[in-house]
């Protein structure tokens, strides 16, 4: 399995909660795109020889800021240097305000076969509070147009737990998406990330902190409604109808290698994690087709090699978030002491009903899903204390 991620670090306006890397100045867009194509060329041998891309994901930022022509140019470069499976999942993240008829027409000329829509809510009050560029009517119109244009392989993002989101509004948001028959849904609890506008508002008292009780209520409602509607809760924040798991993201959780291209993007070889520094001007200036990628180390990208304990911890952290959970046999393969540590530590949670055991598999129960971070941290193996 191999996946390719492209980070498009531009947005028209900044959502208050977002801590991803982006710039609201589009001045460098062309240069960054040129550099992204150069990086694709420079890193064409990232995967083992013969590897075939099963998924391509354009995230951001706001990839739907790119014109059809710009997208085509990117894909041309990708197909030039990488082998792409004929049935590869090719996703574009898009904001509802970008997806009008002409744009969708252009999009059909590209290999994109899956759209990820940043809907977030169907309430104008929520959307204003989040500083989104679209309103509720646009959100609805967008889904309808996209479906009419033949894009049925869709996923939508929703945010719950915001101070403006009442329980009734949240229930409505979920219901509306189900009515549209969207086959995949990502629902994120509002998180106050450091160095965001939201963090500042909370600190200065302009916004209340996240109400945990409300977030729990809304999450529980979500799990119930999605189950009733026949969706699988296959990752903490992701729900899918049968056959519609996000291939690209699932590969992250299973520890598969991926190549991330663009400022701020992360890559993983299975042992080494690399990340491009989130600096558009520097990226645009230094990434040139004639500058060997290795020579840009420290300037444009950095890396770390995961220790066996790091690998184990990441496996526990990402694995527990999925419906497949952690497999003791796989942990044993990392080292018997990890397996011994895991079995010893996990017992409490099994007894408490937070983790369910089935043969060699350990997965979170519904209550456990609320405490995923706490439980993973307890199962972590940290070197200093040896446990």
């Amino acid at each position: 399995m191999a996946g390719l991620y492209l980070h498009i670090p531009f947005c028209r306006q900044a959502c208050h909660y977002c801590n991803f890397h982006f710039s609201t100045s589009l001045k460098l867009k062309e240069e960054v795109l040129r550099a992204i194509r150069a990086e694709l060329y420079l890193r064409r041998d990232f995967f083992e020889k013969g590897a075939i891309l099963q998924s391509i994901y354009l995230g951001g930022g706001t990839p739907s800021l790119l014109t059809g022509y710009e997208l085509e140019a990117l894909f041309e470069t990708i197909y030039q240097y990488f082998r792409v499976a004929p049935d590869a999942e090719i996703t574009l993240e898009a904001n509802p305000d970008d997806l009008d008829e002409p744009y969708l027409t252009q999009l059909r000329q590209t290999p994109v076969n899956r759209l990820s829509l940043g809907i977030q809510s169907f309430s104008d009050e929520d959307l204003r509070w989040m500083n989104r560029a679209h309103d509720a009517a646009e959100a609805r119109r967008c889904i309808e147009q996209v479906q009419a244009a033949g894009y049925h392989n869709l996923t939508c993002d929703l945010i719950y737990g915001a101070p403006t989101t009442s329980d009734a509004q949240w229930e409505a948001n979920v219901r509306i998406l189900l009515e549209y028959g969207v086959p995949h849904l990502s629902c994120y609890c509002l998180t106050v990330e450091p160095k965001t506008a939201l963090a500042h508002f909370v600190k200065t008292g302009q916004s209340p902190p996240v109400d945990d009780d409300k977030a729990v209520r809304q999450f529980l409602h979500l799990m119930e409604a999605m189950e009733t509607a026949g969706y699988e809760h296959y990752e903490i924040s992701n729900f899918a109808l049968s056959g519609h798991y996000a291939k690209h993201n699932t590969a992250y959780w299973l520890g598969a290698p991926y190549l991330g291209v663009g400022p701020g993007a992360h890559s993983f070889t299975g042992q080494i994690r690399q990340w491009n520094l989130p600096n558009n001007p520097r990226y645009a200036k230094l990434v040139q087709a004639n500058a060997p990628w290795q020579s840009l180390k420290g300037l444009v990208w950095e890396e770390e090699t995961l220790t066996p304990a790091d690998c184990y911890n990441e496996y526990v952290m990402t694995g527990l978030r999925t419906k497949w959970g952690c497999n003791l046999l796989q942990i044993s393969a990392m080292g018997d002491f990890f397996a011994a540590h895991f079995t010893k530590q996990v017992e409490t949670f099994v007894v408490q009903g937070l983790v369910r055991r089935q043969d060699y598999h350990y997965a979170l129960t519904r209550e456990g899903k609320l405490l995923a971070d706490f439980i993973s941290a307890e199962l972590f193996y940290t070197a200093v204390a040896g446990n």
Partner: protein, 596 residues
Amino acid sequence: MKNIRNFCVIAHIDHGKSTLSDRLLETTKTISDRDLKEQTLDDMDLERERGITIKSHAIQMSYLHTDGECYTLNMIDTPGHVDFSYEVSRSIAACEGALLLVDATQGIQAQTISNLYLAIEHDLEIIPVLNKIDMDSAMIDEVAEQIIDLIGCKREQILLASGRTGQGVPEILAAIVERIPCPKGDPGAPLQALIFDSIFNSFRGVIANIRIVNGTLRQGDKVLFMNTGRQYDADELGILQLDYVPRQELSAGNVGYIITGIKVSKEIKVGDTITHLQNPAAEPIKGFEDVKPMVFAGIFPLDNDDFEDLRDSLEKLQLNDASLVFEPESSAALGFGFRCGFLGMLHLEIVQERLAREFNQDVITTVPNVSYIAYTRKGEKLTVRNPMDMPDPTILDYAEEPYITAQIITKPEYIGAIMTLCMDKRGILIKQDYLTQSRVEMTFHLPLAEIVFDFYDRLKSISRGYASFDYQPLDYRRTDLVKLDIKLNGENVDALSALVHRSKAEAFGRGICARLKELLPRQQFVIAIQAAIGAKIIARETISAMRKDVTAKCYGGDISRKRKLLEKQKEGKKKMRQFGKVEVPQKAFLEVLKLN
């Protein structure tokens, strides 16, 4: 002797004492520009960070005056906090004059006034200096008026200076020679040398800073420390410049150091008098006090296995901190540790920080308390330094607690608020004197226990920083104490137990419960925090169970960041102590007493 001048500098924090001192050293070429680290005299990291001087320092300069004569100037730096007021008084006792340094942009501060009065009491010649006059916000006339009002000097006696530009520095040096009297004393009389400070050096042992009042001290002399009664050889003596400069002899009027092979600081008492074993002085210099710890707290290793390491660290710390005392104790909840005695709360904090920084010791500090005296019905008299040692009410006849005399200097507009605060702290107003029209000195008798917790901070805030605070131990008085216990889910946390006055118990208990509610992390279960006197619960708070702890997004770029965050959280959890099932972070023990 007529060419020696001994002086100290009285200044408020931030009024530019260190910068001006550096200029004096520079101008007299005691120190080259190249050697001049900023703020040469404050060389302990902690002192620099906190902007206060904990230990006193001394330095000797040679100065060629306009009269063509060369003078020896000894500048003695003084500690700047109330916990160390005895050391201040000994430094002042070693001088004939003082520079009163006042920031022209801020005016004279209350704590400066109280040190100034201490200097006036010791008959020091005061040279007022207005500093920072180069600043746009300098209020030269106004601040000069304040000074005239306070010490009754003439306007033209006030010097104007800027430590930053060096302006006025030559005039200060000239004034030191012209106005401060030369030391009196008889080099031929029996030796009397005042120890005004001691410093621990890991290579040379304890070095005492001394002022020779009478007589002459020579290398190799057999000497007697009059208050401790101990005898030593004067292995080395000399003067203090940036380094120790050995001399064959020091005679009356001069300031210098002596090394006698003492290995442990507590053998040397600041304020003691050194004399010759043969032909000793008739009496020691007046004013010696054996400074006793005022505040006691348990210090326990975070991990019980580190008990011996902690003992080792405390012993090393004691080498250069003579006022720290400790003895082993054990606690049901915390295992083995030490009951330590401190001069005051700042001293406690400093010890705690030095343990962490210099010795890498993670410790838990219990609620501090003062030393009580308990009388049992059988007529026994017990010293109680740990709430656990307080006799049961059925056995206890009565208890006494220590009182202090406190002097507070402030502006008249704050009298009301300070009165309210001191009454609230069970204080009694003894007298109130107007020093000037705009400066008033209030004297209170206060229970020491009341100033241990949040007194100084409250005083500062109600007086907007304009109140000095000095105290001396007074006596023991009968009191009505109760032992207040804190329970977490019904389990007693003895590290948080405290002896408090009955009238304060409820408010104290409520405050601690509320504070703990902020400090304890949510856990998987509900936590009940209770304050109890015996079996009676007097305050309660509840922390609801942690319901949700889960990251929303965990994609390619999030994984390693999230892993590191969770690993860090896990590391943090190791710094917790468990009471029953409840985990209490180490920092909660330090923070819990910062009520309000």
